[in-house]
């Protein structure tokens, strides 16, 4: 949430050297967790460590005193929906880029479910170019696995990868046909490319609008059983064993699906997965009295599933935390529950809600940050997520303890559909730096 201001740092602004001193340095890529500083020169990091102090870096053009707050690589969010091109009234690269920087996210990967779908080289290049010109977070697109996300014919994934698509997914749609999924995995493995699946068996999920169980029954809403997720995860793991290749499951949310992935990892399959903050911080009771902001895909599950997600984050079965940012305008949400659109905005609450895992004692701070930096960087082979010399100076400075309350109306995102509206959280982004330029900062 925007507690601070954006600066109009543009790529051609001259940059000198900046010393960020008096910080608790957190770099999961190297295991660093110590007091010290970071020195940047132009767009790059040139030194990191305990000897970067106010005195030691007195020759730097600018000195930023971090006042003991945490300094980490800028966050990487691998699951963001932008709505540009096609639905700019819900979100644009600019509005969501501001949301991202307010959330400490310096790099994100956007889903191909725009209009048109990202299935052509020109669209991959459009997104990358627009983002570069805005000077906000760095954007990498997913390519579509199948043409028009229809789940029938495989898209030109080799060509799209060449143009800059970092992985392939049909977005919010599962690749449902077993033969198509087998061929997609098999063909992608030709080039060593990653397929990201939205794991939900569409036949069983059809008509369901919230997690199946007592609450759906009482609200008179059609239930969507968690078995729909488990079935597709189990099927795809069989296909992965058959084809080889790499498979990533997006936003896993239920205990049985997680168990299947845990076993597959132990058996040596190249499978990874992520989850989103709603699945470890909320459960189906958030739907309450038909709150459409809590209508997500997959649906918020029961408490037992939420606990399983937390346990899987702690034991490493779940590799990555992604926001699952899905802007929806008022007209899409102010509807009877069954008719309302799925999804919640999440960029601005990603860090704060993830820090609950640390505050509640489930994960060490460095591990929480690792799931937001090192892990997504390695998964998608992105040039980001580390603090080492020579890396891009993409940095987030945050106060892990500072408390605030989520107020959907105050979000920078063009759409305000946060499932966390009204939630008290702990941990605030103080400064976001991209390529050495401060793009967002809270006045201290």
């Amino acid at each position: 949430m925007a507690h601070g201001n954006w600066t109009h740092a543009m790529p051609d602004d001259p940059l000198g050297s900046v010393a960020y001193v008096n910080a608790r340095l957190l770099d999961p890529a190297t295991g660093l967790d110590a007091m010290g500083g970071v020195l940047t020169e132009g767009e790059k990091v040139v030194a990191v460590g305990p000897n970067i102090t106010r005195e030691g870096a007195s020759l730097a053009d600018t000195i930023v005193d971090c006042r003991g707050q945490c300094l980490a690589p800028g966050l990487i969010d691998i699951r963001v929906q932008i709505r540009e091109p096609g639905e700019e009234h819900k979100g644009t690269l600019e509005s969501e880029g501001r949301a991202a920087t307010a959330g400490g996210v310096t790099t994100y990967v956007c889903l191909p479910n725009t209009t048109p779908v990202i299935a052509e080289v020109s669209e991959v290049e459009f997104v990358a170019r627009r983002a570069r010109l805005l000077g906000l977070s760095k954007v990498y697109p997913y390519g579509a696995v199948t043409k028009d996300l229809k789940g029938v014919e495989i898209a030109e994934i080799g060509t799209l990868a060449g143009a800059g698509a970092v992985a392939f997914t049909d977005g919010e749609k599962a690749i449902a046909n077993t033969q198509v999924m087998r061929r997609a995995l098999s063909y992608a493995s030709t080039f060593g490319l990653l397929i990201v699946q939205h794991p939900e068996e569409p036949g069983l999920a059809a008509g369901g609008v919230m997690n199946e169980g007592e609450i759906a029954t009482r609200l008179g809403l059609p239930g969507l059983p968690s078995a729909a997720e488990t079935i597709l995860v189990e099927r795809d793991l069989r296909l992965l064993a058959l084809t080889g290749g790499r498979l990533h499951f997006a936003h896993v949310s239920c205990a049985e699906a997680i168990d299947a992935i845990r076993k597959a990892k132990a058996a040596g399959l190249r499978v990874t997965c992520d989850t989103a903050p709603p699945y470890f911080a909320l459960n189906e009771t958030s739907v309450g009295d038909y709150r459409t902001f809590a209508k997500l895909s997959p649906p918020l599950r029961g408490e037992r599933d939420r606990e399983a997600v937390v346990a899987a984050l702690a034991d490493g079965t779940i590799d990555v935390i992604a926001s699952d940012h899905a802007p929806q305008d008022e007209d899409s949400k102010r509807l009877p529950f069954a008719q309302a659109a799925n999804g919640g905005v999440g960029l601005e609450t990603l860090l704060s809600v993830s820090l609950e895992l640390y505050h509640n004692g489930h994960l060490p701070l460095l591990e929480v940050i690792g799931k937001l930096t090192r892990a997504p960087s390695e998964l998608m082979n992105l040039p980001a997520g580390k603090l080492s010399p020579g890396e891009a100076a993409d940095i987030v400075i945050f106060d892990p303890d500072r408390a605030w309350k989520v107020d959907a109306d105050q979000l920078a995102s063009k759409s305000k559909n946060s499932p966390f509206d009204g939630r008290p959280v702990q941990g605030m982004v103080i400064r976001t730096v991209i390529d050495g330029r401060t793009v967002y900062a809270v006045e201290n």
Partner: protein, 322 residues
Amino acid sequence: MADPPVTAAFPHRHLLGIEGLSPDEITILLDASDAYVELNRQAEKKRDALRGRTVINLFFESSTRTRTSFELAGKRLSADVINMSVGTSSVNKGESLIDTAMTLNAMHPDVLVVRHGESGAVKLLSEKVNCAVINAGDGSHEHPTQALLDALTIRRRLGRLEGLTIAICGDVLHSRVARSNLLLLTTMGARVRVIGPRTLLPANVERYGVEVFHDMKAGLDGCDIVMMLRLQMERMQGNFIPSIREYFQFFGLDYDKLAAAKEDALIMHPGPSNRGVEIDSEVADDFSRSVIREQVEMGVAVRMACLDLLGRNTEELGARNL
């Protein structure tokens, strides 16, 4: 004309469901309804209770019985009653739902009676208007006046609700009548059973504090009341039962299955019934057992009581606004 026969106050602005009502509040509504039953049996049925008030029946789903029942109830209380039927095809979009609510709200109605095909839609609408809202059925969620009229029918016949064994049979999954009845009857201390094929019972239905049966004779054994539900084919997405014929064979109420219930067990149905689907014609027309027509009569009285009690609250709201 005489004063309204009801004096107790109802402490809610809207009647959106049975959920959240205490046994005392349900009793207030039933007692008030009782008084109106007697009034409705007189030749002179008109009362002044809602003179000068406007009641709008806003039906997004077609209905004849419920709408007529509310219309008659409003008119007998001297309200100006307007019926608005909004075709399901033109208003399937909720933006129209909100728009309609705002438009009607600007006309200063005192009570809106709303039916909508989506669960939660009436609640959503109630958040956008200043008047009282009565839920006349929302999706598969609740239909509180139906549960109240069922309870009134039972209470007048058997003198109580507490301790009775009541079976609710058939398509519970799609039924808002069943959900409101489960809540009301368990709140009032009845022993409730649900009976139906597994495909037509919602997940975790036992969490209402009811016993679950899949065999009609076993479930009806010793029951005081047999409440049949309409098989709601229009709400079914896909195939929940193989055929009407097979459904009737296992779950249709006929004399053979009814024999398992108490000898004088009463038969109820919210209507309109599908004869030969969930209930045999002979059973439905058996006046010694079936109270289906009485339910319709009680409906008008219950709706008068609800309009009256909620209308009084809006009087206070209006006074405060001045």
